[in-house]
């Protein structure tokens, strides 16, 4: 019986993967090649139309003209996600470093503190930021009370507010993998670096950061991927002045009733993320296989 490979034992695995991962994605991929139904849904006729409309606009007489509208939205979302990732890394590394260098019995408390925001819905927490940043909000109220300013600072509906919102939403996703890496760090290497004439800055740049690369990449991925599709911060804190990919996709499945276009947009976002991951994986080959 030893030679019989009981593949059926793997069936729970295949069922879970199939139902929760493969099927929804396959559905989206299939929908992107169909035609929109008049009142939502799809009509089962194969068509490249959704993909064509990503870059071209169809005139009344059926002529195609180049339209960079969606492309701009794509680029804007990528830029925002990139900025968000960099901000999270800059803020998250010192936090994770601090946590990892606390006595072992204190670290659990720090991890708990970092995960507390997950106990509440992101929408509610973003509204809370509106209360903090608006003209009559906490920050302006406090600054006026102290007498530092006479007029409220225009904090809401600015890129600054969007940045704060994104940083706030995704910071834990950066801190936790960084912490996991730094917690396992062999601090004797820091002593070795100091013994070999490295000052604090050199120790950080030449030893701690290079060895933490797997954690940094993991954190960046966990922040970058969801933040591409994010639209809450830009909607609520930025005033929805600029459309994001997330808004656009949501719109296609909502009042635009253009499911194929929404699906095509989703497939393109996935393709971009996948390409990015493959690049990172190739670069990260020597980093211990964590990515």
């Amino acid at each position: 019986m030893r030679n019989v490979k009981p593949l059926y034992l793997l069936s729970p695995f295949f069922i879970v993967i199939g139902v929760f991962f493969v099927m929804p994605l396959a559905l989206i991929a299939v929908y992107s090649f169909l035609q929109p139904g008049e009142y939502g849904g799809v009509e089962w006729h194969f068509s490249w139309d959704a993909y064509t409309r990503l870059l071209f606009e169809r005139d009344f007489d059926g002529k195609l003209t180049f339209n960079a509208g969606y492309l701009i939205i794509f680029m804007r979302s990528l830029m925002l996600a990139g900025t968000c990732t960099i901000l999270c890394l800059l803020a998250g590394f010192p936090i994770a470093y601090h946590m990892a260098t606390r006595p072992e019995r204190h670290r659990g408390i720090w991890v708990l503190l970092i995960t507390i925001p997950f106990w509440t819905n992101l929408l509610v927490r973003t509204y809370a930021w509106m209360l903090i940043l608006r003209d009559e909000g906490l920050v302006n109220g406090l600054l006026q009370h102290v007498g530092l300013i006479s007029q409220p600072l225009p904090l809401m509906y600015t890129p600054f507010a969007v940045g704060i919102g994104l940083l706030y939403s995704y910071l834990p996703f950066m801190v936790l993998p960084l912490y996991a890496t730094l917690e396992r760090f062999d601090w004797r290497l820091v002593e070795a670096a100091q013994d070999l004439y490295a000052d604090r800055g050199q120790t950080l740049r030449r030893v701690i950061i290079p060895i933490s690369i797997p954690g940094i990449l993991a954190g960046c991925m966990l922040v970058f991927i969801p933040s591409i599709g994010s639209f809450l911060a830009s909607d609520l804190l930025g005033g929805g002045k600029q459309m994001m990919i997330g808004n656009l996709i949501q719109m296609q499945f909502g009042f635009s009733r253009d499911w194929p276009l929404g699906s095509a947009l989703s497939v393109v976002v996935m393709a971009i993320v996948m390409l990015g991951l493959m690049l990172i994986a190739r670069k990260g080959e020597g980093t211990g296989g964590l990515v």
């Binding site: 004797r188 070795a192 100091q194 013994d195 070999l196 004439y197 490295a198 690369i213």
Partner: protein, 326 residues
Amino acid sequence: MAEALVLKHITKTFPHPSTPVRAVDDVTLTVNENEFFALLGPSGCGKSSLLRLVAGLEQADAGEILLSGQDITSLPANKRPVNTVFQSYALFPHLTVADNVAFGLRMQGKSNIGGAVIDALKLVQMESLADRMPAQLSGGQQQRVALARALVNRPKLVLLDESLSALDYKLRREMQGELKRLQRETGITFILVTHDQDEALSMADRVAVMDKGKIAQVATPPEIYHRPASRYVAGFVGLCNFVPATALGISEPGEVGFRPEDVSFRTSGIAGQVTQIAYRGPVTHYIIQLDSGEEIIVASPRNDAAVPGARVNVNIDRGRLIRCAT
């Protein structure tokens, strides 16, 4: 001889929830230039703490550290011309062997370091593995890289923190010889921390035996072995029998000591009975209960000198008796 390192009244106490631990207690010590010096003691005696104080990885509570006459007491580790070979080697896992060795020179901002790195790798016979990553090396090879990484900087002092203890017996013997050779060839002062008395006695020019944060004795290996300053030292650097002087027919108060190899079987002499025999290869240990009641160990090159239960007579070399106050 010029002094490479002078420690004056060095004290270091580590905080501890119940009672603070005085790891290094008023240590005054001089290490000469070009010397192979060993700090010997059991674990927890403060020898590693003392080494970390010299490296600058810990700061002393009190006392002065002079390196070639310069006061380095308050200098941080990265400003001291002292390099350490760590017990765990602490090689940088993300750098190749060559980059590990080059690290110290790069941090000092030196250029044209390729030649120095190759020379250092040649010194430890690792030049063929310069492009390997540390994880691809055996323990002995990592040890050699760690040595090259320290030696390439031509420091005033190389500190070896139990550097050989992670290696197996045969490799350790090899590396002991290698270390001696490297110290002679480079002319750099070495300080070796070890709990292995064989290692200390066979390698060092001078040995400091430490006990509970204090220096028990500093002397050459033969002096440490044959004229230990205390019973503690005598017991730590080898086996030592201690019996009342009267048991050997010497009329003086207190106890005298002697090494097992300074006792020999005779037809007449001090009488006793063999209780146990332990074969040790080059020598055999006979545990003998003297008629006066004391138990002693006798080491003999012969393994058929007596059988358990046999009545024997032994003679102790009077010229090699060890007399120490405590």
